[in-house]
Amino acid sequence: MSHDRNVETARIETERDQSNPPQQLLDISDLSVTFPSQEGPVEAVTDVSLSIEPGETVGLVGESGSGKSVTAATILGLLEESARIDGSVEFDDQQLLTKTDDELREIRGDRISMIFQETGSSLNPVLTVGDQISETIRTHRSIPNEGISRLETSVLGNLLRSKSHPTNYERSWEQTVELFERVGIPAPEQRALEYPHEYSGGMKQRAMIAMAISCRPDLLIADEPTTALDVTIEAQILDLIDEVQAEFDTAVLFITHDMGVVNEICDRVAVMYAGRVVERAPTDELFAHPKHPYTQALLDSIPSLEGGQTLDPLAGQVPDPTDKPPGCPFGPRCPSATACCDARFPPEYPVTTADEPLPVREGGDDDVPSPRRNDPTGHAVHCVLYGSGDGLAPRRSPSDEDRQNADRGRPETDGGEP
């Protein structure tokens, strides 16, 4: 397990030397994913770049159809064969997109694991929960290796194991019970012997987390893990993920549509809209100073717990995936869209909290403004309003009325999550 050690060193370096740019655990760059469909190719993810450092929690937030789940599935190589994937996904300096299924399987579950929203379908209904988790532990050999030969990890070993090394099974079982205890499942010895249908939603999610952390992964991908749960249970699970992450020093990619959950658990956030990352920022900064009009609208759409506010909902809806606008996908709904927004998707503009959007002025050209600064600030936004210059040309033809009508007449095929 030499790469384990590499990561370990990388982590230590990160801690020791803050001035050097830290080594990325996961580095996604210019990722695009296209699915074939009856109505022609559908680009679910477009030019997404995202990086995660060891031990940090990055949120990927967006509404349905934003491509956040597809991005996660791409990392793990879980997409259907027909999908076309461009760009690069590097995990610990290894290119994941070119790996074979077998190589990926080695990484999945061992170094990267995943928890899902639908815990029901992730567990096999005819095996006890304990069996399934101890099985995962045995497959990935994260038990201390003394006395386990290479033979044992082979297919033949699978047959021999239970008889020749009963201790192996017992050890993995013990470890399962320990994990159950760790994730807060009451009466772990007994619950491990039960079947998935005897578990409640929250308990299943705990068991899934136990399975996910059983191999002490470097990266945990959580795809809407609390969406199906009640608030009180959601709070418990978020606490648990937090604890587990601190204890195992696992990086977490947290996918959700819930801004509240993002605020609770993430260090950094990337906001996605219609397959694109539109804004990325440290969590606190995103909530305090959202820059992209979409992020602002998203935050304004959430009723506050303090009350006494009026919502100003954003008109229209997410564009049809088969018929996305050529420029910024948010353009048709954007209150400050300009002419150049309709032409092309804006580049990334690094911003600081103090940056104000450009005013819209009459006349002018369609040129894309240049960035105000070149140094990365940790907060960047794909919106021309944050370029340099003294103003932007207003949009030519599409009127406000068009935008308001955007949600009225158009046939829509948006459905649930992928």
Binding site: E63, S64, P186, S200, G202, M203, D230, V231, T232, I233, E234, A235, Q236, L238, D239, H257, D258, M259, G260, V261, N263, E264, F287, A288, A297, L298, L299, D300, S301, I302, P303, S304, L305, E306, G307, Q309, L311, D312, P313, L314, A315, Q317, V318, N405, D407, R408, G409, P411, E412, T413, D414, G415, G416
Partner: protein, 368 residues
Amino acid sequence: MNANDSQESTPESVGGTEPILEVRDLEKYFRVNEGVLASLVGATQYVRAVDGVSLTLAEGETFGLVGESGCGKSTLARTLLRLEEPTGGSITFRGTELTTLSDRELRPIRSEIQFIHQDPSSSLNPRKRIGDILRRPLELHRDLDETERAAEIRSLLDRVGLDPGMRHRYPHELSGGQKQRVEIARAISVNPSFIVADEPTSALDVTVQAQILELITEIQEEYDLTLVFISHDLRTIRYITDRVGVMYLGELVEVAPTGTIFDEPAHPYTQSLLSAVPEIGGSETAQIRLEGQPPDPIDTPSGCRFHTRCPLAQEACSAVEPESAFVSSDHQYRCHFTDPNTRTGTIGEPTDAAPDRIEDTGPEVSND
């Protein structure tokens, strides 16, 4: 829309406005099918989905029902509309007792009470065009000729912000938000005075959810509707309701004006529910975490139903069922810790209030 509009929940104290709906000790038990053997032995078990709920709704108010999944809030809603037959208690709608009416007698009242469903993808018949879906309630309850009906359908669609040409489409051609708009159009098509909305926005994206909340608010004002709004999302409840009832295991554990519920929650369950909602923006407050999960509704805990998870629970809580107590005339909750002095003790700082104070509240107890 503020807390002052709301009415007290005891019928005696209702002042100027007539209550539109009165619910007394409503019960809905579902029999659990335990197989032939159990039924022979006679050991029939019940899920007590709604267990003794009393509630009075004033004309024009928005009442929120909030609780975790399985607390019985949806069953309560369906029982109010007689979509489920109640197993006990009474529902009085404008003086008419609904529980004893036959289906036929109920039919004219159906137009007064409407329902907005949670899942817009299953609440519209996939085989019918939008226009046909909207036409049927008009045929049943409104005396219009074909031309007027067509005009009405178009104006309804327009009212909920849809293009009238949509009436030729099938539900699967619409987005979730559009379907929910159709659902709202169907509900208001018969000029109801009372609408029950069961999680109408929880299947929608955040931005669409805000649109639908806006629409519901507008429609409510325009049609002067009384609204029961069910949600597990406390933010939505805060935004849209005047008064809130918190449900736990089939019981209403706290009822109060929305502002009171959010600012001075009295019941430990309400307090922990509020504290579990992830903050947006602001600083993180000290959080109360509930241990475990709601108990099995077949085998509800003795005494106070919340005692198994309650951070305040004392021995007596498991033995004696608390009565409804009033903090003020419009704030009522079910907990042994009813003394105003001990009540202010939040969960974080345990009080040594003994539950033997139940007797003190005797005269204020409203229901059994």
